[in-house]
Amino acid sequence: MSVVAILFPPALAAILIGLLLRGRWAAGATIASSLAVLAMAVRMAARIAAGASVDDDLGPAWHAWVSVDGLSALILLLVSFIATTASIYSVGYIDREHLSGRKLRVYYASYNLFVFSMLAIPLVAEPTLVWIAVELTTLTSALLVSFENTREALEAAWKYVVLSLMGAGVALFGFLVLFAAMRSGGGGDYTWSGLVEAVPRMSPFLLRAAFLLILIGLGTKVGLVPMHTWLPDAHSQAPSPICALLSGIETTSILYVILRLYPIVRHVPGAHADTWALVLGLLSIGVAAFLLLQVRDYKRLFAFSTVEHMGVILTGVGLGAAAGDYASMQQIVNHSVTKSFCFFAAGAVLLATGTREIAAIRGLARSSPFAGAALVLGGLAIAGAPPFAVFLGEFAILRAGLASGQYVATGLFTLFIVIAFFGVMGHVNRMVFGVAQGQGDPGHEPSAAASALARLPFSCRAALVVAAIPVIVLGVYVPAPLHDLIASAASTLGR
């Protein structure tokens, strides 16, 4: 079976939902398609981790368009895992308001198209078509961000679309310059691997220009500071399962495109690719860490944490040494699984309390223990407390930084992640264990707890439990195939 087949289930599901499936059937088709994609991604990742190539399945005509290596397989695996948990979570979360059939169909059709576009990014090897896939992620998710049709959601969706497309326009020019650089070097296949081969023949000036244009253009969509302004809005206003996709994996899959440039430009004189990664990375962590301290909306809290973690991943790449590359790839996995869990937890809190405001929520541990426990787990894991995976990734980046002798950058990195840790935990702690001023009315408490439990649908709880497994397990044990896959992904960065 060819690797392209992984695109079929979401495409088929979107078409079926558009034409005939309604309500529960649409939700079922979405879950089925996500599971099929997950199975294919796991199989592909296992083969690549074992050192085999999956490109051989393709006919020779496909090689100019499609290719899967370690890095692509890693992203495919993460997209499919989060698409699966989020599709399960959606069933209870989206349907709770008994929306009209049309609205549900728009949701699930967009959901599948969004997953389709995110799967296409790592799969496609031709850079301009990858750009198209990036555009499609914005366009297919726009209506998901605005799904609730409140003033705030519409504003967030609009900002998201305008700023992402503005960045994409700059990136498009970057990709055209990259193509021109390829031609100036005598041509060849315009694919990621073809570009790596052609590096010595290409004009360094054009490569530098293309790198900067794409870094700025796509960096906007990754949410790198100072182009991050839209991200906390879009990632907090969308329905929670969509936030999990946006924050957990969409940002990462766009970052993947930037990382694809690294083997090409890393050794080009004057490109300073590692320095750019370090500067933008540290800037993102630093600014996000301070913004984390003063948020008033807990979904925004996790959105800013995404900006922070995009910075962490980029810093790992920029700090140098193969160990840094490995740590960054590890951090991509850790961030994706943990952040999607955080948004599921945030969604559970929203269902239990009906508000997004941190100040309005106190004593969640008593009023809705399930949502409170999930929030504490997510908060600790994403803030980087041991023994969770994010801690291991950040610690590995720290060690790589020290080993390569970049003491100032490593010091700043440590300072910022510590601030971010207290930023996240301070808010979460108050929400879960804090005592509200008006509390202590004994007759009121049990009924609130009972209704909160009743309001958290089964599918949401199931998705939370499934999503929690890698969050807990990866902190203490990385399975050997996953380790091999991460190592294979790190090796594609051209150190």
Partner: protein
Amino acid sequence: MTFELIDNLNALAAGLFLLTAFGIVAMRQARGCLQLFILQSLLLAASAALLGLRFGSSHLYGVALVNLISKPIVVPWLLRRTAPGEIYTRREIDQVLNIPTALLIALALAIGAYFLGIPLAEAVGPDARGPNVPIGIAALLLGAYTLTVRREAMSLLIGILAMENGAFFAGIAIAHDLAMLVELAIATDGLIIVFIMAVLVRAVEQHVGVTAVGELASLREGAAESLSPEERA
């Protein structure tokens, strides 16, 4: 036709292309913005056809044809079908900057684009020398600039499409043998942009009652303070 004549005609198209980009920055009427964008797309198609003639590239004829069909015909049709009629009739009264200031900054951007574009075109090779690269970059920057100073949905949509036009205007000179599949995909992408943004404007108009989407500004740090007591509960 001699190469010299073709080059002169292409320079004329490029000059007019830059003027339309300035026009989009300055134009207050939504409908005028759309018409300027259509004119700009026609000039892009003309330049692609001329360069196709110059380099004997049938591929560039394809680009010209795609642009000729998708932008002047399909985009307005799509807007009529999906966007609320409101957006045509809007006239922007209060802009972030007044028009002379906006144009002055736009002029500075265009000059900056020239200094960026010339070395870039030099590095690509003799084929790329000509007005396309600097003017394409200028139009790209002016499109981005339009996005930052405008508030009305239509101007923002046109700003995005104009950025893409700018990237392409430079692209036909530096990357004129891009696969046709890619060109078609990019043209389709432009149409999806129009569709999605039109649907969003319709939703904004229905639920908030305005089309000046840039004026929506309830989301910022500390906005939660402005929540009403009922929302806090």
